[in-house]
C-alpha cells in the first residue's frame, strides 16, 4: 500500500526500509535491463538482480564515480529512450566534458516533491513569498528549487543570482519571506543593505533562509540568522543526485536529514571503499532509488561527512548526516560553483602564452569569494606592449568564465615568480575562512 507523502517523514524505520528495499530491487532490475553502462558493469562483475536480497547487499555493487559519468557522457546511463526525457542539467567535470544528468517528467516531479517536503519541514506554507537567488540554467540549484517551491504552492520570484539592487527592490516590493541563497551572497547582501541604510529586520519581511551550494559553518549560519532575523537552514544536494532536496535540516538544526525513501545513504572510507559505521567520518555515497531516466548507484560524492547514530528529536526517521566537512578530491567551490583545479589547468595549458606554473588563490573580499589565478607568462610572448598583456589577461578571464561559470581575476607574472611545487593541491591556496 503506497504511503502518503505527509506520512513518509515519520514512517517507522521498518516500513521505510521496506520501501527502500523494494525500490532498490526495482532500480537494480531497471539498470540491468536498460542502462548501457550498468549492463556492462553487472556483466563484468557477474552480478544479477536476483542477488539483491537486502538493502545491505548494496555493498556488493561497484561504486559509480564522476569519471564513469564523464566517460559515458552523454547518454550511457539512460534507461529510457530520449523521447521520454524532458530535461538535462550539467555540472562541471574534471577534464573538459561536463557530467550530464537527465530527467523524465516523473523524475522532475519526484525531485520537486522532495524540495517541497524540505520547505514544508522548515515551516514554509502557501502564502509565503519565495525569492530564489540561485542561478537558473544548467545548474540544478535554481530550477529544481523553483519547481519544488511551486509544488508546495508558495509564490515564487525567479530572481536568479546576482544583481543586488534588483534583489533588494524585489524583496521590498513583494514582501519576500523566504530566500534561497548562498551563504557568501547572504553576507554580501547584508553589507549592501547596511550601506543603503536598510535594516533587514525592520524593513524586510524575511523569516526563513535556505543556505546552500557552498560549505559553511554553524557560526556563519548564526551570523546570518542574527543579521536578518531569520531562521536559516542548511540544504544539501548535488546535480548528480537531482540537485537540491537530497537532504535538509529540520527545525532541530542538528544535522541534515537525507530522504531515505529516495536515496540509499552510505559513508565509506575514501581510500579502501569499505563501509563505515554511523558516527565515523568518510565519503558520502548515494544511490538514487526513485529516479527512472538515469539511476545512479553508489555514487562517490566526494563530500566528507558522517551519519548520526542517534534519532532526531523531531521524530523524523530518515537518518541525518553532519555538515559537509570537506572533499576527498581537490574540488573547491567559488560563489556556489564547483571548480576542479584540473579544469583551470586545462584551460591555462591550452593558452600558448602561459608557462607551466600557475597558482589559484581563493580569497574573500567584502564577503564575496574571489578566485584569483596567477599565471606565469612565457618570456618569448612578451613584446613590450602592456595592451597585449591586458588583452591576454582578458582572454584567459573570458575563457575561464565561459567554461567554468566563474569570473576569475587574472594576474600575469614574470616567469620564475611562483614557487615550484610538485603536488597539484599546493597550487590552490584557500585563504577563506568557513
Amino acid at each position: 500500500m503506497p504511503v502518503k507523502e505527509k506520512d513518509i517523514e515519520f514512517l517507522e524505520r521498518e516500513k521505510l526500509e521496506e520501501i527502500q528495499l523494494s525500490r532498490f530491487k526495482e532500480v537494480v532490475k531497471r539498470v540491468y535491463k536498460s542502462s548501457p553502462f550498468y549492463k556492462r558493469v553487472f556483466k563484468n562483475e557477474g552480478i544479477s538482480p536476483d542477488d539483491i536480497r537486502s538493502v545491505g547487499d548494496i555493498k556488493f555493487l561497484p561504486f559509480t564515480t564522476k569519471e564513469d559519468l564523464r566517460e559515458n557522457f552523454p547518454f550511457g546511463f539512460l534507461t529510457l529512450p530520449l523521447n521520454r526525457i524532458v530535461r538535462v542539467h550539467t555540472s562541471t567535470g574534471t577534464t573538459g566534458k561536463p557530467k550530464a544528468i537527465f530527467f523524465s517528467k516523473k523524475d522532475i516531479d519526484e525531485a520537486a516533491k522532495l524540495v517541497a517536503r524540505c520547505m514544508k519541514m522548515t515551516g514554509a506554507r502557501p502564502g509565503d513569498v519565495f525569492q530564489n537567488m540561485m542561478s537558473y540554467g544548467l545548474f540544478t540549484g535554481g530550477l529544481m528549487f523553483h519547481y519544488g517551491a511551486e509544488k508546495l504552492g508558495v509564490l515564487v520570484i525567479p530572481a536568479g543570482a546576482g544583481n543586488t539592487e534588483k534583489q533588494i527592490e524585489l524583496m521590498k516590493d513583494f514582501k519576500t519571506t523566504i530566500l534561497h541563497i548562498t551563504p557568501s551572497y547572504a553576507l554580501y547582501l547584508a553589507d549592501v543593505l547596511e550601506e543603503r541604510g536598510i535594516d533587514p529586520k525592520k524593513e524586510l519581511c524575511l523569516r526563513i533562509m535556505y543556505l546552500g551550494a557552498e560549505p559553511y559553518s554553524q557560526k556563519t549560519r548564526e551570523k546570518i540568522e542574527s543579521i536578518y532575523g531569520v531562521s536559516a537552514f542548511n540544504c544539501y544536494g548535488l546535480s548528480e543526485m537531482n540537485g537540491p532536496g537530497v537532504g535538509f535540516e529540520c527545525p532541530a538544526k542538528d544535522g541534515i536529514h537525507i530522504w531515505e525513501d529516495n536515496y540509499i545513504l552510505e559513508v565509506v572510507d575514501p581510500l579502501t571503499g569499505r563501509s563505515l559505521p554511523e558516527g565515523e567520518e568518510g565519503e558520502l555515497v548515494l544511490t538514487t532509488i526513485n529516479r527512472e531516466a538515469m539511476p545512479v548507484l553508489r555514487y562517490r560524492t566526494g563530500d566528507v561527512a558522517f551519519i548520526y547514530s542517534k534519532e532526531c528529536e523531531c521524530g523524523r526517521t530518515h537518518r541525518k548526516i553532519s555538515f559537509i566537512k570537506g572533499r576527498t578530491d581537490d574540488m573547491f567551490i567559488v560563489r556556489g560553483v564547483n571548480v576542479f583545479p584540473s579544469e583551470v589547468e586545462r584551460i591555462l595549458m591550452n593558452t600558448p602564452e602561459v608557462a607551466r606554473n600557475y597558482q589559484i588563490v581563493l580569497e574573500r573580499e567584502k564577503s564575496l569569494d574571489v578566485m584569483k589565478i596567477r599565471v606565469e607568462i612565457k618570456r618569448r610572448f612578451f613584446d613590450g606592449s602592456l595592451e597585449h598583456l591586458k588583452a591576454l589577461e582578458e582572454r584567459i578571464k573570458s575563457k575561464i568564465k565561459s567554461e567554468l561559470m566563474v569570473t576569475p581575476r587574472v594576474e600575469l607574472l614574470e616567469p620564475g615568480t611562483l614557487p615550484r611545487t610538485t603536488g597539484k593541491s599546493r597550487r590552490v591556496i584557500d585563504k577563506r575562512k568557513l
Binding site: R379, F382, D383, G384, L389, E393, E414, P415
Partner: protein, 145 residues
C-alpha cells in the same frame, strides 16, 4: 641614417624592488639610462627604458631571467620652451596620426627636450615628420646632445 630608436621594455610585477633590480643589472653592465617610464596595470606593468646600449641591456636583463622586448620608437627633438610640444603634436593631428604611447625628457634645460613616441605605422610617421621642419634623433644623437 637610422631614425628609429630602440626602446627596451621589461615585464615587471607591481611590487617594491622590481625596478631597482632592473637598474642594478644595467649599472653592473655600465649601461646609462636616458629615460625611464612605467606603464602600469593593477598587478603588473611594463617598464620602458631608453639606454646607451639597448642590445647589451636586453641580453643582460634576459640573462637575469627577466621578460624583455626591444621595440622601435621615434625620438623627436623639441625646443624646451612653451609651445615646443604643441608644435610637434600639431603635425600629428594634421596628418591624423594617433599616438599610442609617449613620454618626454629634457636634455639641456631651456634648450633641448626630447619627445619619445610610439605610433602604429612608424615608417609613415618618420616620412611625415622628415618632410617638416622637425629633427628626428638617432641613438647616437641621444647621447651626444
Amino acid at each position: 641614417m637610422q631614425k628609429k630608436i630602440k626602446q627596451v621594455s621589461v615585464f615587471a610585477r607591481n611590487e617594491p624592488g622590481r625596478i631597482k633590480k632592473i637598474t642594478e643589472v644595467l649599472a653592473d653592465e655600465n649601461i646609462n639610462i636616458r629615460a625611464i617610464t612605467i606603464a602600469s596595470g593593477d598587478d603588473y606593468g611594463v617598464v620602458k627604458l631608453l639606454v646607451s646600449d639597448p642590445l647589451k641591456a636586453c641580453r643582460a636583463l634576459k640573462k637575469e631571467g627577466l621578460s624583455v622586448a626591444l621595440n622601435e620608437v621615434i625620438a623627436v627633438q623639441m625646443e624646451d620652451k612653451p609651445g615646443g610640444l604643441c608644435k610637434i603634436l600639431k603635425i600629428f593631428t594634421e596628418n591624423k596620426i594617433n599616438i599610442e604611447d609617449a613620454y618626454g625628457f629634457v636634455i639641456k634645460s631651456g634648450e633641448v627636450a626630447v619627445l619619445v613616441i610610439n605610433i602604429a605605422n612608424i615608417e609613415e610617421g618618420i616620412k611625415i615628420l622628415s618632410s617638416q621642419d622637425v629633427r628626428l634623433l638617432t641613438e647616437e644623437d641621444l647621447y651626444r646632445l
